[in-house]
Structures are given as C-alpha cells and as structure tokens.
Subunit: 386 residues, 2 copies
C-alpha cells in the first residue's frame, strides 16, 4: 500500500448520528479517510438540516454542511421491517457504527449492541450520549448548556461576581465527539490484535469533567471550589487581557524572563527590580497594582502597535480576534485550516482538519455534504449486491 | 488474547512532553492501556513538578500528579552523548514518541523525526505545538491564553459589551492534547496495514479553530462575525441561565414540546398560545420580553425546588455546579469519573477516563504519578538489556 493512502482508507462507518456530538465524531473519521455512510430517516433526515443559518437560497443549512462534508447519505426507516433488514445487512459489511440516540433507543428498534454483535462480532459500536449508557441519569436528555452547567465549567468561566457565562462554542458536544472518535480508533487498533469489536460509550458530562482537571486539583488542595477569574490565569501573572488605546488584547508573560522582556518592551525596566513584582508569586499577590501600572502604559498605543513591539521582544501576545480575522491569518492559511466546500454556488468555508499527518495529504477544498438519500442506491449496490 | 486486555496493552510510548498539552495526550494513552515512558531532564524534570498547588507537605504538585498518574519516569540528559545514545536505543524499542517542544528543538538535539525514522521506520512521531510545524508563526511560543484569543473563541465568550472572558479551563492545551491522541491512534491503526510509522503534527491554534465550527458557519452566511451572547444560545430560546430565588441555574428548552412543558411546569400554560412565543423563531425574536416573564416566575422558588419540578416535567435544567458539587453527583460516581490516586497519604482525586469501552475495566483508583527518575534503571533493564 502506498505511503499516501489516508490512515483510515477502507474503513467503513455506519453513521446514525444527528445534530452535533455524533456528526462531529464521524466528521473527524472522514477527515482521516474513513467512508462515512450516514443513515437518515425519511423526509426530514438529520434534524440539523433544518437548523439555520441557511445559504444557497435557503436550500442548504450551513450548520449541517459544515459537519457533514464528504459523507454519503442513505435513507432508511428503521421502524419498517424491510429497511431494518437492509440496515442489518449493512451492519455486517461495516467496521464501525456510531450513534448518539438517547440510551435505549437502539434496543427499542431491535438493534441494540448485543443484537448487532451477533450479526457482526468485529463491529465497533460507539455511542455518544448526554449522561452515558449507565448510571441513574442515563435516560435524561442533555444539551450542551446542561453539561456546561452541571460539570462545573460554567462555574469557573466569567468574571467574579458577574452573571454566568456559557463557553461560546458547544464544547459539551464537540469535546465528547472528539473523545468518541478517540475511543473508536483505540477499538479499531485493538481489533487488529484480537479480531473482535467492542462497545465504546462516551457521555458528554463525563467529557466536561475530564477537561476540568486543573480545577479539580485546585479544589483537592485548597478545599474551596475554584471561582471564575475573568480573563486572567489563576496563578500566572501577567497572563490576561489588557486594554490598549483601541481595545482589548492578551499578554502571556509565562515566566520571569518574559516578564523582564515585557518591562523592557514597555520601557519600564524599573519594574523588574520592584519588590512587589519580583517573581511570579509576588506579581500574582500584587496583581491589582500591577494591572493598574501596566494598563497605564498600554493605554498609550493601539493593539496593533503593541503587537509589533511585543513580537520584537518575544513576549507572547495576541489580539482578541473575531472570527472574520481568521481569514487574514497567514499561519492558518499555511496550515490549511479554512477550506472551501465544493459544489455550492456560494463560498462556504469550514474549519480544516487539525490533525496533520504525513500520510494525510492536505486538500484546499472538501467535498460538499450529501443531499438527503443521495447515495441510497449507490450504497446498496456497492455493499449488498456484490 | 483475552477480552479484558486493555485496548492499548503492549503499546510503548516514549513521552518527552512537559506541562499540559503533551502530558494530557499521553495521559489519555495511559488510560487506554499504553505503557508511558516519561523522559525527564535531570534535576527539575517536567516543569509542572514545580507548579502549585502542592500537597503531601509541599512534596508533590497536584497539577503534575493529576496529569501523570501511572506513567513511568526515566531521567536522561539529551544534551549529553551517553544519554542521547540510550535515548536512541529506546526509540528503537517503542511504538510511539510524543513531544511538545517548540518546533526545531528535537532537530537541534539531533533527534528530529527524519533521524529517528531511520532508526525505527515503524515509529509514530507525534508533535504538539502552539502554531504547528509549518507556517510563518511556527517558531512563536504559544500559551493557552494566546490561542484562545487568536482563534476567536474569546471573541464569542462573555457578555455583550462586557470585558473579555477566558474559557475557565485551558481548552487551548487540552483539546490539542485530545486531537494529538486521536492522530496517534489513527497512525497506529494505519501501521497495522502498512507496517510503517508516520509523523503527526498538531497545533493548539488549529485545534481551537476546529472547535469553532458553528461560529464559522454563522460568519459565512451572515457576513458579520458572531458576538458573545453571555449565557444564552445564539438561536434556541429559552436556552440559557436564569435567576431563581437563591441563584442562577440553566434551562434548556430545545424545542416546542419542551417549551410547552416548561410553561406547564411554571403553571403558565397561557404562554404556549402567546403569539410572541409561539415557535422558536418567535421566542428568539422576543427574548427580552420572554426572559422578563420567566424570571418573574422563577424568582418565586429556589434552584433546588425548580430542579425537582422541571425534572418531573422532563424539562432539561441544571444547577450551575461548582467543582465541589461533582463529588455529590450519583451519576458521576456511577460513571467512575472521579478516581483517587493510590500511594499518597492525602486523598487526591483526579478526573476519570471519559472513554468507556467494553475491554477497558473501570478501576476505582489509579496508580500515583512517578517520582523523578523513579524507573530509570527498570526501564533500561527491561528495554535495553534483554
């Protein structure tokens, strides 16, 4: 096999997922070269086909196409005998099944893991759900907002004494989608050793707890739950957002050397020797005085001016970019992180694949998302009529 | 091989990582059963051994142990010939190498990927860095704060017109750690097909862009960059934090059925027929009026009281938990999401593994993190003197 075959070339995925957590998982597998067979219900298909915003004269959901590019769509009504039979035949032809139904739904349809395992013992069955396939809350519905609140993430995001803040992206779904893909790949590797498939069970709530770790460690030692800290780091100073003449930007002076460079850049070398700010612990203790002094200096120039000066001194800093600015970033362009979808009359850029691999060629565009049921006949002919 | 062998049993990882992004990646691989050989420099080891908060009478960093449980530590000075020779011999005995140095550092030490590939063509070489191993900013230092700002995540987190808000966990590092582990596993699978290793190159900035997707889609269609929306969902209503009598909590009424149930739970069935709130689009358009009405009702009872009522009506809701509350959650207990580390005199709970797999037995405790160089002789005897 040639070196440029994609890592998951030849791997077939039966994808029963809808909306975000599951489609994000299978999008990652598609990025890595797997063949994604998206099973959709008749008429409506994946709910997110109806989520705004829309483009192509209202014909296409930008939300849906950004998650489903390059997948193939087959329509099956899993509540009807004939289609269920087709589905079970497909299960015998694939490597992986991914679903994000509420736990128990697949069993009600007569296609739970225990049943499918009999049909295909090599099947890797991955389920992403809100609370997981075990435990007292297993049957409860979860949304991103619910797990952001329940997990503690919201309790440490925002300004002290301020109103609650949701993380502006759906990390409750997205992080669970990534963990699910990771579990699928670990199972796929193990299958090459044992010859057998297994079940992967990922809960959105669990995943939010898994990304908290520093906050849990702080609570264990300090005995008090951590609180929100606005835009600053809990224990490194100065490492936060500051106001310049024309707006906010961030400076991350992660150690004493960078602190000294920052003082030089500001022409305030006197601060390096100031006993209030000598080391990181001092600076963190006297943060209010420090911020007042720094903002006095930073107010004299614009973000762009400071950016240039701080770059010169090697002090990490960044503007707080809005999403449009990403399209002007030469680094993101060099990394192919915004790719256009083919086959639409309007431009539709989506995020690229962040996993760069030597056997995974970078492509400047990606295939469009499938129309509902577009590949029904093709898939049946290919997988079931050989 | 028995069914209960962990997915990555027998997989050896040479782990050169420090602080967060790399150690998070190898922690995931350890959770899945891989043998992690942590290579640390003499005297100080992983920088995070010196990061607070500390426990065990100041002997142990809670930050470090929460990321390095179950790994083995070998001390090598990669700037000295003898240790470099040992290192190169180890490279020939392992499956995977993970590093999170600034790009170019491994080459300066004479152990860049091109060199190591000659020594071990089956080696999977994974590099996690701030901006990646290509592009004009490749050599720049990045911290979590920098990529949160540069990627656009900060621009959509927080309250409209409010000061910037950093996501309260280091998602810049952590998400990149998860993506790196995913890339490693895809490469490990491909190696079973091709017999060859490859390089995996993951940038923190790229990963933040990859989790933005909905925001990019909105920008593409609307032409205006999305703005922060506090604690509400951009297009679903009511789906946000609300004030009850004793504090904030979240309600996620994701569709018209849940909206009707919420009205019932509040004994405000009149709102279901109110033309201002008939469907989701109406509710989103008239959100200010809706929030005023709902907060009027919600102010009459506590969060716990509403919780019970909304559970009864099946309306998704959650308190905004602080981290201490996780220890009282029966669901997280049932999922084994907080596990104690063995071998310390004090309790030290860390987040459990969110990837539940049928071949991965759940354990209620995990091994402690290694002392610096604790396994140097053991590893050399085991891998190099057979």
């Amino acid at each position: 096999m040639s070196n440029t075959t994609k890592p998951l070339a030849g791997v077939k995925v039966l994808d029963l997922t809808r909306v975000l957590v599951g489609p994000y998982c299978t999008m990652m597998l598609e990025n890595l070269g797997a063949d994604i067979i998206k099973v959709e219900r008749p008429e409506t298909g994946d709910d997110s086909r109806n989520f705004g915003p829309f483009f192509e004269d209202g014909e296409e959901s930008a939300y849906f196409v950004s998650l489903n590019s390059g997948k193939r769509s087959i329509v099956l009504n899993l509540k009807e005998e004939e289609d269920l039979t087709t589905f079970k035949k497909l299960v015998q032809q694939v490597d992986i099944l991914v679903e994000n139904f509420r736990p128990g739904t697949m069993e009600k349809l007569g296609i739970g893991y225990e049943t499918l395992k009999e049909l295909n013992p090599k099947l890797i069955y991955a389920a992403a759900s809100g609370f997981g396939h075990s435990g007292p809350d297993s049957q409860k519905a979860a949304y991103d907002m619910i797990v952001q609140a329940a997990s503690g993430i919201m309790s440490i995001t925002g300004h002290p004494e301020g109103p609650p803040v949701r993380v502006g992206v759906s990390i409750g779904d997205i992080v669970a989608g990534i963990f699910t893909a990771t579990g699928v790949l670990a199972a796929l590797y193990q299958r090459t050793v044992t010859g057998e498939g297994q079940k992967v069970d990922v809960a959105m709530l669990d995943c939010q707890v898994a990304i908290l770790e520093n906050a849990i460690a702080r609570y264990m030692v300090e005995g008090e739950p951590p609180e929100p800290m606005g835009a600053r780091h809990p224990s490194i100073t100065p490492f936060q957002a500051f106001k310049a003449q024309d707006g906010w930007f961030v400076i991350a002076a992660g150690n004493d050397v960078l602190w000294a460079k920052l003082c030089e850049a500001l022409e305030r070398e006197d601060l390096v020797e100031d006993p209030r700010f000598k080391n990181n612990a001092d600076r963190t203790e006297n943060i209010d005085q420090l911020v007042e002094i720094l903002e006095g200096e930073l107010a004299t120039k614009t973000v762009a001016e400071w950016q240039e000066i701080l770059d010169e001194y090697g002090v990490p800093s960044s503007p707080i970019n809005t999403v449009d600015k990403l399209f002007d970033d030469p680094q993101l362009a060099a990394r192919n992180m915004l790719v256009n979808l083919e086959g639409y009359s309007e431009e539709m850029f989506v995020a690229g694949n962040p996993i760069k691999m030597s056997n995974l060629p970078e492509e400047e565009s990606k295939p469009r998302a499938p129309k509902l049921g577009e590949h029904t006949e093709e898939i049946i002919a290919e997988l079931l009529e050989e």
